[in-house]
């Protein structure tokens, strides 16, 4: 369930958010005002020809030949020009809108003199792309911000002027800065046909509201504050009255979209004669088409049929490289940006239209890419900025661009004083802005982030998207591409980057190729994961702009739908007053009612088929079945007025009217979402065109996620509109249903009733019930499952439905939320191995744990070989103790987020980073890196954090692994969990016994061994028996006892060498293939790659083994 929590800075606290914004906006507005009037004097605009579209031309042929200059192939990176100028009288403009924002400016002339005299107005800007790929910027005028407040019955039309006057004078008094608006509330209307969303109103009573129209969006929140504190209205009441406000916390942009039925990423049409084209010299943006329109004069097309397609918008993918100093993570104040790789792709085409790289210093050419080299970093940055404006991308993507690449570029330009650099937006002469934010939600956790505003271009950071949507053990670009694209990525350590940069044009070319690859990967991920389709569909379904999806939580999406639906039904949404700032504020998002219960798990290993019955979309269907909504919740004192057949009482005691009385909005939203999903799924089945399929699949997924987030919205205590009666009732119904199902199934499926066995429900979780029918045949279990699903479903209110989809056979139930089983969807062939809550993806575990657990599960479930699994565990433990395991299995990685001193508790990886810095500042991990380490044996009382060591260092110096640590801290728990349901005495069988008796410890290299070893004379020891060799004349390799068996010992040494030679060869040639070059050394240091340590280890072992061989005079 997507429960959303928010922090003060996010939409959870719309007021603060808005106010904060307001302050900034207000300041910006002032500036803007100046700008509008004195555009020519802007420092940058004076230097550049901003009025013309910037043309960025790349010369292709050689220009030296004077003959060829004339028809020199010039390839423009600009968008293709318009076939002919737009004629506002005859042409209508159709475009897909991708971003909407607003500014405060002088009212447009189309608003009329009266409005213009009052001062500034909010102007919305919609950015998008036409079918032909032309960029569009539309300025929308005349949409006034407004909100509602409830007024007493005594309030009539004639009170309005007094009300407005009182409000305005208060507003004036609360004015924060001197240079501000002179006008506030422009108008107010009495509204009598609306009702509050909250609570069922018996007799269909309408409320009495006032719609108050403000001059500027920023004033809405101020007015709300004033009204909620109370104002005095002449002739209404003696004392000041408080007026509860409604829809006063809606973002202005969203307000506009809701009212004009605009959803994120849909197609808009400006009919001919209804808009004004801006002439070239009056353009405010770089867009090819720019026009002004009144807010009610354009058409918003629903995303259906031909309007469901996507425009060929431009996606720019970027990656930068910086030359850090030894031992420090690159710092924009000191370290230069040396390369910027950029790829531009048009949506819908599968290969980039532009591949280019900017390099500092020379760089040898690269096949298929444009190389631009610069001596001066300032010029490099300047030129790239120019390129960005010329290419005019609609979407900016990359990996960690929001928190690394972009801030770095911006800060670097600032440091170097490149003043004309940070103009990436579409608005001419407008700088981008950057600030720190914290994003926090229950679903996604807390993340510190940067917020960069680049007007008119959507930012889509693949790292953020993937972190949101997928649970992975590592989010490095390398492991993410290994996971989704099935290939390892070459990883060059940043200390190597500086070296490559300091080399020749060829080494810099090497770096450039690497950098281009890194810019291409986000694009490939975007394509592979269908992100453009999925996210645009999501914003269409939920109605929020695309940019909200990554930057905000789930609740804004539900809010957007709620607003749209409420508007249709004449309901208005109350603004929340209490914001949970009380003593329990730290429990943000904590759901303050009983959650979903889970039936007790009867842990064990089940060899009989276990049928699983699932509730399809459980919470949504409960809410629909019982008509749970804000507007159907009956106030307790109203219950008595209702006939008993009109309402239902939830298990919590809350009362909701039935849909025959009043259909709830939430159920209606859910119904629409789910039936739309059903349609999308049906269409998906029919669709053959891969693009169409992508859109439809994206849609059905978006619909599913949206439906599920509705429940969470009602339960988020610091959300926009929590209503615990709804969420608590939902879960209560859910619990009741699970119990009910258990009862029915166990009653009906018994031998007494002629079934094969007595059914037993062994486990039940939120929306599923696991049943052991006690019959041997999988087929019978499936038949029973199907039958039981229908039988139980019949007892529930529609649309609640229990479905049978799968059997587990065999099934290992460890405890609640932890199980594994072989999943069968038909009786012919199992589908997959399904595991839940078992250590397979936790990122702070070493690979060994995952491998052991996975192998055991395979052996237990797929091979049904429990003795084999036990044997395997014993052997693995024995190998661990005998120091025979591949080191890469033991490596643990952790991100270094701050320096060691800043960690409150000493952390193994941070301490190690510090020690490594003392050894070699150049290669030591720095903040931002991931630290890989193994645990080694240390002195007896050494603390955990003292035992961490760099795997390579440990390998090179033969440091003994602390196998006990691995056994106790990593293996024991997961293994016991796994085997306890199966074995009687799991702990003793697995963790002690014969296989744990032999322990091997390597001797550390003598350089490291301190103490007395330093004084010991090193004498060659016998290869056979390790005894010191006394007679070196006889043999350099063997003692006099072993020398008789020389061939035997040599043979043994050779076997080792043979194996290692083969491994060495296969490992290093694999790395050559991966890096894509035979003639260059492998530089990759990707610690996520499964063969990185093996490669190193093999090389080292081989050198050692060959040295031993040489002692045999070989």
């Amino acid at each position: 369930m997507n429960t959303t929590t928010t922090t003060n800075k996010r939409e959870g606290d719309e007021k603060d958010f808005e106010e904060e914004e307001d302050k900034k906006r207000a300041k910006k507005d002032e500036l803007e005002e100046d700008e509008l009037e004195t555009q020519e004097t802007h420092p940058w605009s004076a230097n550049e020809e901003i009025l013309e579209e910037e043309v960025y031309v790349q010369d292709l042929g050689k220009v030296s030949d004077d003959v060829k200059v004339v028809e020199a192939e010039k390839k423009s990176w600009n968008r293709k020009p318009l076939a002919r100028p737009i004629d506002g009288q005859t042409d209508s403009i159709l475009f897909q809108q991708l971003d909407i924002d607003y500014i405060i400016g002088q009212p447009h002339e189309m608003l009329g003199q009266e409005r213009r005299s009052k001062g500034q107005a909010a102007i919305l800007r919609m950015f998008g792309v036409t079918e032909d790929g032309h960029s569009v910027c539309v300025h929308v005028h005349g949409f006034n911000p407004y909100f509602y407040c409830a007024v007493p019955e005594t309030f009539t039309e004639q009170h309005i002027p007094a009300f407005l006057m009182s409000l305005n004078s208060q507003m004036m008094a609360h004015q924060r800065s001197s240079n501000s608006a002179r006008h506030f509330a422009l108008d107010a209307h009495l509204i009598l046909d609306k009702q509050s969303l909250m609570n069922f109103q018996p007799n269909g009573k309408k409320g009495r509201f006032l719609r108050i129209i403000m001059m500027l969006p920023t004033q809405v929140a101020q007015a709300r504050g004033i009204l909620e504190n109370g104002i005095h209205v002449d002739e209404l009441h003696q004392s000041a009255l408080t007026f509860p406000t409604f829809e006063s916390n809606i973002l202005y942009t969203l307000r506009f979209m809701v009212d004009r039925a605009v959803v994120g990423g849909n197609w808009l049409e400006l009919p001919a004669k209804n808009y004004r084209v801006r002439p070239q010299q009056r353009k405010a943006s770089y867009c090819q088409i720019e026009c002004d329109v009144m807010f009610d004069r354009f058409i918003s097309h629903a995303a259906e049929g031909k309007y469901s397609k996507l425009a060929p918008f431009r996606i720019l993918s970027v990656d930068i490289e910086c030359a850090g100093r030894k031992g420090f993570f690159p710092d924009a104040e000191q370290d230069p940006v040396i390369q910027i790789a950029t790829l531009v792709t048009e949506q819908g085409s599968d290969s980039p239209i532009i591949k280019a790289i900017w390099t500092l210093d020379t760089c040898a050419p690269i096949v298929g890419a444009e190389v631009k080299s610069f001596r001066d970093e300032r010029e490099l940055l300047r030129d790239w900025g120019k390129f960005m404006r010329a290419v005019d991308p609609d979407m900016l993507i990359g990996y960690n661009i929001v928190n690394f690449d972009f801030p770095y570029l911006i800060k670097r330009a600032q440091t170097l004083g490149v003043q004309d650099f940070p103009y990436w937006g579409r608005i001419i002469g407008k700088q981008l802005t950057i600030k720190d934010t914290t994003f926090s939600s229950k679903a996604y956790g807390t993340r510190e982030s940067k917020e960069i505003t680049i007007e008119g271009r959507v930012q889509f950071d693949m790292l953020q998207a993937i972190q949101r949507d997928y649970k992975l053990s590592s989010y490095s670009l390398n492991s993410v591409s290994a996971h989704f694209l099935g290939e390892q990525k070459e990883d060059v350590h940043h200390s190597a980057i500086s070296e490559l940069q300091a080399g020749t044009a060829e080494t810099r070319r090497r770096l450039a190729v690497y950098c281009l690859k890194d810019a291409y990967l986000p694009q490939r991920l975007l394509d592979k994961l269908m992100y453009t389709y999925n996210y645009i569909e999501m914003s269409r379904v939920t109605g929020v702009p695309l940019s909200f999806l990554l930057a905000r939580g789930q609740s804004i999406k539900v809010m957007s739908q709620l607003l749209r639906k409420a508007r249709q039904r004449g309901l208005i949404i109350p603004a929340r007053r209490d914001r949970g700032n009380g003593p329990n504020a730290q429990l943000e998002g904590e759901v303050a009612y009983e959650g979903a219960t889970v039936l007790d798990a009867k842990a064990g290993y089940y060899e009989l088929p276990i049928a699983t019955l699932d509730f399809a979309s459980l919470y949504p269907s409960i809410m629909m079945a019982h008509n749970l909504c804000y507007c159907t919740l009956v106030k307790q004192h109203d219950v008595a007025d209702l006939p008993p057949e009109a309402y239902t009482k939830a298990p919590t005691g809350d009362v909701f009217v039935k849909s025959t009385q009043f259909k709830g909005i939430l159920p209606e939203i859910l119904e629409e979402l789910l039936s739309a999903r059903k349609r999308a799924k049906q269409d998906l089945k029919k669709a053959t065109d891969p693009l169409e399929r992508a859109v439809l699949d994206g849609r059905q997924l978006a619909l599913k996620i949206s439906a599920n987030s509705v429940y969470g919205f009602t339960g988020a205590t610091v959300g926009q509109l929590p209503c615990l009666e709804i969420s608590a009732s939902t879960t209560a119904y859910g619990r009741q249903m699970i119990d009910h199902t258990k009862k029915l199934v166990e009653e009906k499926y018994t031998t007494a009733n002629g079934y094969e066995g007595d059914a037993e429900v062994i486990y039940g979780d939120t929306d599923s019930v696991m049943i052991k029918f006690n019959c041997k045949e999988l087929k019978t279990s499936m038949e029973y499952g199907l039958e039981a699903a229908d039988y139980v479903s019949a007892t529930f209110t529609k649309p609640i439905k229990l479905e049978f989809e799968k059997c587990y056979w065999p099934y290992l139930l460890i405890s609640k939320k932890r199980y594994a089983g072989l999943l069968w969807e038909n009786s012919e062939k199992w589908t997959k191995m399904d595991t839940k809550g078992i250590e397979t993806v936790r990122r702070d575990n070493c690979l060994l744990v995952r491998q052991v657990v996975e192998t055991c599960l395979t052996k237990i479930l797929m091979d049904r070989d429990i003795p084999g699994a036990v044997k395997y565990v014993q052997n693995t433990i024995s190998d661990l103790l005998m120091n025979k395991l591949d080191l890469s299995l033991l490596v643990i990685t952790k991100g270094l987020t701050k320096t060691a001193d800043e960690y409150a508790v000493k952390a193994a990886h941070a301490e190690l980073a510090q020690r490594m810095f003392l050894r070699d500042p150049a290669t030591a991990p720095v903040v931002g890196d991931r630290v890989a380490y193994v645990m080694i044996k240390a002195t007896k009382n050494a603390k955990g954090y003292e035992k961490s060591e760099c795997p390579i260092y440990a390998m090179d110096n033969n440091l003994p692994i602390d196998h006990k640590h691995y056994l106790d801290n990593f293996l024991t728990k997961p293994l016991l969990r796994l085997f306890e349901p199966i074995l009687q005495n799991a702990a003793s069988v697995l963790l002690s016994g014969e296989h744990t008796r032999s322990i091997a410890l390597p001797t550390p290299s003598s350089t490291l061994a301190g103490g007395i070893m330093r004084f010991a004379k090193v004498r060659p020891s016998c290869v056979g028996c390790r005894a010191p060799i006394t007679d070196e004349k006889l043999s350099k390799s063997l003692c006099k006892h072993c020398v008789e068996d020389e061939s035997k010992h040599l043979q043994k040494a050779l076997v080792t060498v043979n194996e290692l030679e083969k491994d060495f060869n296969r490992l290093w040639t694999q790395c050559q293939r991966c890096q894509g070059s035979l003639h260059q050394d492998v530089l990759c240091t990707s610690r996520d790659c499964p063969i990185f340590y093996r490669r190193r280890k093999t090389q080292k072992d081989l050198i050692e083994a060959t040295t031993t061989l040489k002692r045999f005079d070989w």
């Binding site: 040898a364 080299s373 693995t876 061939s1047 030679e1061 040639t1069 035979l1078």
Partner: protein, 563 residues
Amino acid sequence: MTSSQKLVALHDGELKTMRAITTNAQSEAMKKRKASSRSSNEEESKFRFEKEHMGKQYSSLYYQRLMVLLPGLKQSAREKFGTSVPLKRVIELGAAGTDNNKEDGKGGGEKKESSAMMMMDVDDEDTLLQEQENKENKAAAALGEEVVIIGTIYKEMAKKPIILDEYIKTKAGVTKKEQVEHGLMDLEENFVDEEKDFCILEDESARVKLQGPGVKVGELVTGVSAACKGRVNNNGDFVVDSVAFAKPSSSAKSTTKVTEEDESGEQTYVCLVSGLNFGASPLNDVRAIMLSEYIEGSLGDEEQAGGISQVLVCGELVSSKTREEERVQGEKGAKATTNGEGGTHADTKKKATSSSIQKADAFLAKVCEMVPVDLMPGSSDPTNSALPQQPIHSCFLPNAARFEGSTLKKVTNPHEFQITPSSDDASTSSSSRTFLGTSGQNVRDCLQITSSGVGIKGKTPEEKAKAVLDVMERFLEWGHMAPSAPDTLACYPFKDRDPFVITQVPDVFFAGCQSAFGSREIVVASQKSVLVSVPSFSETGSVVLLNLKTLKAEEVTFTAAGL
């Protein structure tokens, strides 16, 4: 096939026991032999190494290979494509060559420097390059312009097993050992995917995908140095019309006449034996005794046997079966046993191994009494496994080792040597023969990754021999005896040389341990060369007799009926 086949059969009861080795017998037998002198200067063989170790990477080897072969490639290119087609580096192809030196002049200078590196051994008469070198501005080859590019082939093979997959499978629960066994066992498996495989040409600047009928993807392997003539197409791929390779030069003494008619008079032979595989089966061991008696002259064609002046053992003296057991044991002893049972019964196996080595030792000692022997190691022998394999250590062959310095020479694999037949025939004394060859790993590897090896499992011995000879012929054409090393064939990461480059055409180019006998005469660089596929003795019961005068090869097969 230019060979005749002789059958030496042995019937029940005829089996003679091996005689005890005596020094007497040695001198006696030696007297009867045709004398021949051989020189291979083993101590200085380029395949011996002292300093080489695995502390390096492979890139230098590829680089050295390209550099050594570059003059030959250029010459071949000139001969094949003419001098008018310009030579380009890969990065200068097509759209790549943007004029990026506008911003600073430094770029130009550096570019020239690096291209000079590529052309470092260009001689004065190299007209192919003149046009380009004279030009200040090294412009890119225009789209569609015909050019030559020189570099190393990289063949992308969809089906080639990769170690990463193995690793991933390991995670899924298949143990490493099982895979190694699985992957190792089938030597005749073929990884060619004719639809998906493609070639890339890489020089020290960049790589480009090769296309078109000119590039025979099925025949090529990763690591071959080649010159390709063609043009860039719109996709940025290079469409190849024609390919030239660096053929080895003809040897200086190529005046040597191959006296084909001279079948009269006394003939001298080199006997090529491979795959003796002692310990593989009792039958095999018996046949080996027959072989030794044949060489001695006491079994079969005595006269012919008397003409054997040299025995060359090219690989697999000891059976891989016993070695395999050894390997498993060794793994238990030295490496992770993810799923093994421990190694307590090692001693019994040890004995088996040592007994098969003992048999091999006895056999060698006996043959050494009679005739000089060059002993090359093969894939199953107790020495290192990556090429070049170093001579087998004396301690394994205590008896035969006594002939070291006289008749026994323990040599490397690959092996190169010269032999001068019948020193008493003064007129032809200068007609020494050069031999070059391996114990067959190079050929076997190429059969797995080229179309020659597709479906080889079910083929007749003649067809198998043809496939082997095809591969060997290509090696000579490419000027390299093991191009697929290191990519799929393990070898040492040489830093400053590539010992596997074939600089001169050998008179005899052999490969041991093949599944069938075959030989073929070819002409490379206007010099005749005989290719010999030496059959594995344990598989076929055959050895090869190579007539040093006529350079004709014939197969002699031993059968021990009833055994």
